[in-house]
């Protein structure tokens, strides 16, 4: 029998103006990162509702990233400041409930930081791979 290597499932919410463009730039520059990362485009990181993060875990994600413009550079001026507060509290709560805090993360990646985007994804996939499958926030009904 072939041993299946564990491949994590990562959902990355990327803001349209910076991080999504950063991801595009990583592509333009052919910078590799694992296919485990799937990107969802949102107008701004502040569009990311904590419910989306939980939903991703429910549905089987092993890690969730929220990527936005650097604080101060938000296309909408202040959106990512709210993201920062919301996610700091959400992540703190998840950790409080005993959910591995390394699974969820906020990263600020500008449109010019293709290399950072790729590097971040590589590193995050490794972190989540090391953590293993998400068991504490999964919904068994969603398993295949």
């Amino acid at each position: 029998m072939q041993v299946n290597e564990y491949k994590p499932l990562i959902v990355a919410f990327c803001c349209n103006w910076c991080s999504y463009a950063g991801a595009d730039l990583a592509g333009n520059n052919r910078l590799n990162y694992p296919a485990d990362v799937k990107i969802i485009r949102v107008p701004c990181s502040c569009r990311v509702n904590p419910a989306f993060v939980l939903r991703a875990y429910q549905r089987g994600a092993d890690g969730v990233l929220i990527c936005g413009c650097h604080p101060g550079d938000c296309h909408y001026t202040t959106g990512n400041y709210y993201t920062r507060r919301r996610m700091a509290l959400l992540f703190s709560m998840l950790s409080y409930l005993g959910i591995e805090k390394e699974r969820t993360r906020v990263e600020w990646i500008s449109a010019a930081e293709g290399a950072k985007f790729a590097a971040t994804m590589n590193e995050f996939v490794k972190t989540v791979t090391d953590l293993g499958k998400n068991r504490r926030l999964e919904d068994l009904r969603c398993k295949k």
Partner: protein, 330 residues
């Protein structure tokens, strides 16, 4: 023993009704037993005389009822508010949930409320009467002629043990005088959980939340949960959910609920009081309060009407999530 007597309160309320300042009073109504007190709208002096109670079991926070009550008529309603209730009162005003002009707020001094569950842990079931006796409670059961003497401080409800304030944040008039904001130990429990290992925390909450029966009592009693329609009842929210189908949904409900009231929760403790499964839900809300204080500076929801809640505010120098999580004490 509460500082102010039932008698004094009734007299004042009767005056208010007689003066025509108000045409009804939101107060506590006696039940079958000493401890099953029900919120009630009293409309006459006779009704007050007959059924109004004030004592160690008047835990219910009336603030949320004001939304419905003020919409009923143009006349003022008098409401009795314990110090902790006044924070909810202010928070609701901040969120434009009722018309202040239609309310006459009577602050009552509070000495803490007793927890019937704690009493029963000592006496067992079969309570026939509870009498206040100075600092003690005399609890009579059908199994014994003689009462069980209990120190009230031993059966104080959890939220009163870590009372944040004896000072009223809002009132039109005070009965029994005002107290001080207390240097409370209310974050100790949270800190204890934070100090656990990740596995322990997971096991702790798994155990607590697995009891949830999703009766929505916590939500429906919560003065911060005043949505016209809760996202969990709304098929269009993508979050609609009715039952704690599994561990995930148990957590989802409580995480989202805590998040939705984060920065708005005044820590009144009603959620834990009403939970039929006695899940310490306030420890979720309190975690957010503690974090908000640690990350963004001290903030007490409902302390000042019109204050901007921390989650709809920001500072350019706010802590990064990765530097925040797990470092709440710094």
């Amino acid at each position: 023993m509460q500082k102010i007597s039932r008698f004094d309160i009734i007299n004042r309320l009767k005056d208010l009704l007689a003066d025509g300042n108000v045409d009804r009073v939101l107060g506590w109504k006696k039940g079958e037993f000493r401890y099953d007190v029900t919120p009630h709208v009293f409309t006459s002096a006779q009704e007050l005389e007959a059924d109004f109670v004030w004592g160690d079991f008047c835990g219910a926070n009336f603030s949320k009822y004001l939304i419905k009550e003020t919409a009923k008529s143009d006349k003022k309603v008098a409401v009795l508010l314990k110090p902790c209730d006044t924070y909810s009162f202010n928070q609701l005003l901040t969120e434009h949930r009722f018309d202040r002009e239609k309310v006459y707020a009577v602050g009552v001094a509070c000495d803490g409320m007793a927890d019937i569950f704690k009493i029963k842990k000592i006496t067992g079931d079969g309570i026939s009467d509870i009498k206040e006796n100075g600092e003690d409670l005399d609890v009579y059961t059908i199994y014994d002629e003689k009462p069980v003497k209990i120190k009230k401080t031993d059966v104080l409800s959890e939220r009163c043990l870590s009372c944040k304030s004896k000072k009223h944040a809002a009132y039109d008039e005070l009965l029994g005088g005002d107290g001080d904001v207390l240097d409370s130990n209310r974050f100790d429990e949270v800190a204890k959980i934070e100090a656990m290992t990740e596995e322990e925390r997971y096991a702790f909450w798994q155990g607590e939340l697995s009891r949830c029966i999703r009766c929505n009592a916590c939500r429906d009693v919560c003065p911060a949960c005043t949505c016209e329609k809760c996202v969990f009842d709304n098929p269009n929210s993508g979050m609609e959910n009715k039952s704690p189908a599994n561990e995930f949904e148990e957590k989802l409900f409580h995480i989202i609920r805590a998040f939705h009231v984060a920065g708005r929760c005044t820590d009144c403790g009603e959620c834990s009081r009403v939970c039929p499964q006695r899940i310490p839900l306030h420890l979720l809300n309190r975690k957010f309060i503690k974090d908000i204080n640690a990350f963004y500076g001290e903030y007490q929801a409902g302390e000042v009407v019109g204050s901007r809640a921390p989650l709809v505010d920001f500072d350019k120098e706010d802590v990064e999530p990765k530097n925040a999580v797990g470092k709440e004490d710094k």
